[in-house]
């Protein structure tokens, strides 16, 4: 097939369609030379370990060379509250572009305040990899600013945040992808595991072992004097919606976490996918051997602990137990008992799920086509909720009932009060 550019298309059709990005990149015949008008312009908010990996590549990342090495992306802005990170990342991007023909004409700018990135009309999409307590607010503000969004996990720290992100993305017609890349990456192990489970290869699904239990956020408080804030740090912007604290040197991404808020969404995302629960959630939550657990309306029970004796699953995975066998999956393994369950390729008449072989590729493709990503806002809303409900349970330490349609605890005032957390003005969801 000859390469067809969007311009060829428009020329051929005689149409005056002012719509960039509506052509899938596969139809552009992308071969490393993408004209500037076809590139998606991006801003990177938060360029520490995670965001820096997305931007520039690195040992952990699943994007070789990072977004800045992609021919179909032009990074226009880098934002971080730490001067050194911000300047180093911006310099690296500009140095890389200087060595790539035709890429150095639009320099990448460095920003302290993400609102300045959102205010740029020439930026199509943002990647949010900031401390967790910022994720939802920034995603909402990005949607309201008309940006498409990739957001790291946890995508929300409270149930109300999870709902508000999904609503804002829908309200503004944006494309959103959660940083739960296991649906796309790691050789498709997670997708295949979920397809096998949903095809009934282990019989009727009874139990899921999620390896990690719930997570939540909690504001710490401290009053009185603190240490001097270093010149190269914007402490107020680090705290954001958290209560004001005197500077104490801790600018960690997860300093306000309770439980498994950091990693939990990876696990519960796969739990929800396998349980065919992307649009819903648990109906009952309870404690089991000191770990959170819950039950779906289907009767499937999810335990926030490892399957006894099974090592596979701890690295982002889960173990699915059915009436005829079990499947365990993580980033390195996909195994089953009996072993044949996962050896036979998926047949056409079995359950086939949304397929993406590259998380960043899926995001950018959907930015072009305006279709929903493999981890879209609705999925992120519910997979975050599955984790966060466990976080509430972890604090309550007792059984509770949840109505997944109304998204409220049933007859449980105390639990319902924990669906949100007051935020420091002017930040809100």
């Amino acid at each position: 097939m000859r390469n067809i550019s969007r311009r060829d298309f428009l020329k051929g059709s005689g149409a005056a369609l002012a719509v960039p990005f509506i052509i899938p990149s596969s139809a552009l015949g992308l071969n490393g030379t993408v004209p500037p008008s076809e590139r998606i312009t991006m801003g990177f908010i938060g360029v520490g370990g995670q965001g820096g990996g997305h931007l520039l590549g690195g040992a952990w990342t699943y994007i070789p060379g990072g977004y800045s090495a992609r021919p179909d992306v032009q990074v226009l802005a880098v934002c971080d509250i730490r001067r050194e990170r911000r300047e180093r990342a911006t310099q690296r991007v500009n140095e890389n572009y200087a060595q790539m023909p035709g890429r150095g004409d639009k320099p990448c700018g460095a920003y302290v305040d993400f609102r300045q990135v959102l205010a740029r009309n020439d930026i199509d999409a943002v990647l949010i990899a900031t401390p967790a307590h910022w994720h939802a607010i920034m995603a909402i503000m990005a949607a309201e600013a008309g940006k498409d969004i990739y957001c790291e996990k946890p995508t929300a720290c409270t149930i109300h945040e999870a709902q508000a992100v999904a609503a804002a993305v829908r309200r503004y017609g944006r494309v959103y992808q959660a940083g739960t890349q296991q649906r796309s990456e790691y050789g498709g192990k997670f997708r295949r595991a979920c397809e096998f489970v949903r095809s009934g290869r282990i019989g009727r699904l009874k139990e899921i072992y999620a390896y990690r239990d719930g997570g939540a956020i909690k504001w710490p408080t401290r009053f009185g004097p603190g240490r001097p804030v270093p010149d190269d740090l914007d402490w107020d912007l680090y705290l954001g919606p958290a209560p004001w604290l005197p500077y104490d040197g801790n600018t960690g991404s997860h300093r306000f976490d309770i439980g498994e808020l950091n990693w939990g969404q990876h696990h519960y995302d796969i739990v929800q996918w396998a349980a065919d629960a992307d649009e819903t959630g648990p109906v009952e939550l309870f404690m089991d051997e000191g770990r959170t657990a819950y039950r779906y309306a289907s009767g499937v029970t999810v335990f926030g602990k490892p399957y006894p004796g099974e090592k596979v699953g701890g690295n982002g995975g889960a173990c699915f137990v059915g009436t005829n066998g079990r499947i365990a999956v993580d980033r390195d393994n996909l195994i089953s008992d009996p072993p044949d369950i996962v050896r036979e390729p998926l047949r056409p008449d079995e359950a086939h799920l949304y397929r993406s072989d590259s998380h960043s590729g899926n995001f950018l493709e959907c930015v072009r086509t305006r279709q929903r990503t493999i981890c879209h806002e609705g999925i992120a809303h519910r997979s975050a909720s599955a984790l966060l409900l466990g976080g509430i349970e972890k604090q309550l330490q007792r059984t509770s009932k949840w109505n997944p349609k109304r998204e409220q605890f049933v007859g449980d005032d105390e639990a319902n009060r924990m669906l949100s957390i007051a935020q420091r003005p002017p930040w809100h969801i």
Partner: protein
């Protein structure tokens, strides 16, 4: 007094979270109303968030206007499902300072507090930007006629800076109207923003308008798509996948051909995501269009939503196609879902044109449609000559051992080499999948004796891959057959099979087969089995090798055996290799085998490995072997070539300077003749398994600082050398006072990541390093090697230059 005691008791109990939950509401109220610290009051608010009733509201309300504790009070009041909490928040608005007031407004908005509507409406005109904007968003979240009226009124008077917040709020109100079913009212709001100067609002407005349009949603989306407003197109394209109802699918799909090609592709992708089979009839013509891009998009969409009705069009598209169109159409055929697909393919097969037949047959195979096997087999046996290759290819993927008798008959009756080869491949595929070797073997054994030579040879080749005594006996007998072709096929089959039970036969053939080529084939087959036997016990593998070497007379086969020895981690493997070390034809391979085997046993038997290498070095003449042996020997010495003897000075830091700035800050150790330096011995060997690693963090600790380390290197002569250094983080290196390396960086340690060419002078050399520390790990390692990386002989290190 009693109250003070109560507060004190409660405060003590709050130290422990588990006890905190037991504290009563009265206790918390008492704390809030006491002179307790802000910290303690905040903790009480956190408790009241969960257990507070109307009784706590006054105490919490009193904190709302306190800039320090307002957030704490909101923490409790915001989620309290009581009208008293809402009233308290409204009541605090007038007395709160600017940002604190914004916080209260946010809490009211999160509570959807209708009692606050009037107060919030007034605040739209507040001169403080944050207050007015927050009030707008709050009204948007609460929604309803009163909010909408206030927001609309403000649009005409509010300053430009507030307008985006008003628009956002009205979009929220419209969303609520839409959710409540009042599409007309929602639509009226969305209409106001279709011409907004801001693209983000136009996208949102078009999206809302289309969703409000009910049955007209699809035509409206098409209208947006055919216009020239980008935001409208983006909204429409997204909604094509979401507008409910089959009729919407038909409307959009039906308009496909009238859209420009670029838009067609985008709409087809949207229809694919929509997943409604109602689009199929409209998509089918796109599989025949002149644009390959449109064709591929349509084929992909049909793969996702297609049913039995698309089988023929897809097979027709594949027939005669090339490149991506062929790939997409075949992929679509393979991905069609549902149990009815295979049946329909089989029904359509007999009457389809030949090229289409081929595509259907191949797809049935790729789809692993086992239900198709009887039909495919029947057709393969029939006169369907033109499709036989495709049929056998598909049977290879789908058939099981129950078809062996039929396939063997097909093989023995084959009229051409091509058909026979194809059946043989099918038989091989089935046998390799099957776990029931006896059922696989039986029909072939039965047919083998009576079959004509070409068929018999084919059967012998397949039998070679089937485990079991009967197949082995058949092959063994055939190796002595009078027919040289049969004999050749049997020997080759045994040699290729890689089956351990054939090893004695292969050794016999290696000695006794009539031709050299057969003897060589047998011996190579034997070594192949050895190479596949890596899970067998070491002693058994050694015996296999010994027997193999006894039968191997030529260097070529001896070399095959020498490749296997290092895979056996045993000192006896070295002995076997040593028996070849004086044989000129294979001594290099034997030497390498000794080195590699020594490496494999080094962990468990270091002394034996070193002894073997030393013995090898005394006799070997081959340079590559010698170098490899020396390198391994040097590796086996603890921290070989690494300098582990160091003095350390530091840590040094300077206020306001991070590790990057400290890199170029001169501290006493790098000043000539500095007197004030306290040099201490740096402990070595503190990291398990890494004797070469020096850990500064363990010894010195710290962040944003530097340390210096110094040692003396004695060289027997002046000689060129290379420093291989790893450091966490940056480093500078001076040799005899001259800077030889500088790298200002933050990184984890990688041994040898920096290299510097140096010349060691005869006698003592001073080596000084400066290592910077950002945070976390702080370590380094230094190795001196020859310029080409080989071990350097003739140097030693001390912490002071001994006489």
């Amino acid at each position: 007094m009693k109250r003070i005691l109560l507060i004190a008791t409660t405060l003590v109990s709050l130290q422990s979270p588990s006890h905190a939950a037991d504290a009563t509401e009265e206790d918390q109220i008492a704390i809030l109303q006491s002179a307790a610290s802000q910290q303690q009051k905040d903790a009480a608010c956190a408790q009241l968030k969960r257990i507070g009733t109307a009784r706590s509201v006054p105490a919490l309300a009193a904190l709302l206007t306190d800039d320090q504790l307002s957030h704490s009070a909101r923490y409790a009041l915001e989620s309290m499902p009581l009208p008293e909490a809402g009233a308290a928040l409204v009541g605090a608005l007038d007395n709160a300072s600017a940002l604190t007031k914004v916080g209260i407004i946010i809490s009211l908005s999160n509570r959807r507090e209708t009692a606050a509507l009037s107060a919030l409406a007034k605040l739209l005109a507040d001169s403080d930007f944050a207050t007015a904007s927050s009030a707008a968003v709050a009204l948007g979240k609460i929604g309803g006629p009163q909010a909408i009226q206030a927001l609309k009124a403000a649009r005409s008077t509010a300053p430009a800076g507030i307008q985006p917040a008003l628009t956002n709020a009205l979009l929220r109100c419209a969303e609520q109207l839409l959710a409540s079913g009042d599409k007309a009212a929602a639509s009226a709001i969305y209409q106001q923003f279709l011409d907004s100067k801001e693209q983000r609002f136009r996208t949102a407005a078009w999206r809302g308008l289309i969703l409000s349009a009910g049955k007209n949603a699809a035509p409206l989306a098409l209208k947006a798509l055919s216009g020239d407003d980008r935001p409208a197109c983006l909204a429409a394209l997204q909604l094509i996948a979401e507008i409910p109802g089959n009729s919407a699918t038909r409307t959009v799909a039906g308009a496909l051909s009238s859209l420009p090609p670029a838009t067609q592709v985008a709409v087809i992708v949207a229809l694919e995501h929509r997943g409604d089979a109602a689009a199929i009839p409209a998509l089918l013509p796109s599989t025949k269009t002149s644009s390959d891009t449109v064709r591929v998009a349509a084929l992909r969409a049909l793969a996702a939503i297609g049913d039995t009705s698309v089988i023929a069009p897809l097979a027709e598209a594949a027939a005669g196609a090339k490149g991506l169109v062929l790939e997409a159409s075949r992929d679509a055929l393979d991905r069609l879902r549902g149990k009815a697909i295979a049946k329909a393919m089989l029904v359509q097969l007999p009457s389809a044109p030949a090229e289409v037949q081929t595509e259907l047959i191949l797809s049935l195979g790729r789809r692993r449609e086992t239900s198709a096997v009887p039909t495919l087999l029947k057709l393969a046996e029939s006169s369907m000559e033109s499709q036989r290759a495709a049929l056998l290819q598909s049977l290879a993927l789908t058939a099981d051992e129950t078809t062996m008798t039929d396939l063997v008959r097909l093989l023995t009756n084959a009229g051409s080499d091509d058909v026979r080869d194809a059946v043989e491949k099918t038989l091989l595929a089935i046998c390799s999948r099957s776990k029931r070797s006896e059922i696989c073997a039986a029909p072939m054994l039965k047919a083998a004796r009576s079959a004509a030579t070409p068929a018999r040879c084919a059967l012998l080749r397949v039998l070679g891959r089937i485990a079991g005594n009967e197949s082995l006996q058949e092959l063994r007998a055939a190796t002595r057959d009078k027919d040289s072709a049969v004999q050749d096929a049997a020997i080759r089959s045994l040699a290729d099979a890689g089956r351990p039970d054939a090893m004695p036969d292969l050794l016999t053939l290696a000695r006794e087969a009539p031709t050299l080529s057969h003897r060589v084939l047998a011996l190579r087959g034997y070594w192949r089995v050895v190479s596949l036997s890596d899970k067998r016990p070491t002693a058994e593998r050694l015996k296999m090798c010994a027997a193999g070497f006894a039968a191997s007379q030529r260097p070529e086969e001896q070399k095959l055996g020498l490749i296997e020895l290092p895979k056996i981690p045993d000192a006896d493997a070295i002995k076997l290799a040593e028996s070849f070390i004086t044989d000129n034809a294979v001594r290099a391979e034997a030497g390498m085998a000794i080195v590699q085997t020594a490496r494999s046993i080094a962990t468990a038997h270091r002394t034996a490995a070193k002894a073997a290498l030393t013995k090898l070095l005394a006799t070997v003449s081959d340079a590559a072997v010698s170098e490899a042996a020396e390198a391994l020997l040097s590796e086996l010495e603890p921290a070989a070539g690494h300098i582990t003897v160091w003095l350390v000075a530091g840590p040094y830091s300077e206020a306001g300077k991070n590790y990057r700035a400290l890199f170029d800050t001169v501290f006493p150790p790098e000043q000539p003749d500095a007197k004030q330096v306290r040099w201490r011995t740096l402990p070595a060997g503190t990291s398990a398994g890494k004797p070469w690693l020096l850990d500064l963090l363990k010894f010195l600790g710290g962040e944003q600082c530097v340390a210096y380390v110094r040692t003396y290197v004695h060289s027997d002569k002046q000689q060129p050398a290379r420093l291989d250094i790893g450091s966490d983080d940056g480093l500078k290196v001076w040799l005899n006072g001259a800077l030889v390396l500088a790298n200002n960086i933050a990184r984890p340690i990688t041994p040898g990541s920096d290299k510097a060419a140096i010349t060691l002078k005869h006698g003592w050399n001073t080596l000084l390093l400066k290592i910077t520390q950002n945070n976390m790990g702080w370590e380094f390692c230094v190795r001196i090697v020859k310029p080409d990386g080989a071990p350097l002989i003739g140097f030693r290190t001390e912490t002071s230059p001994a006489p």
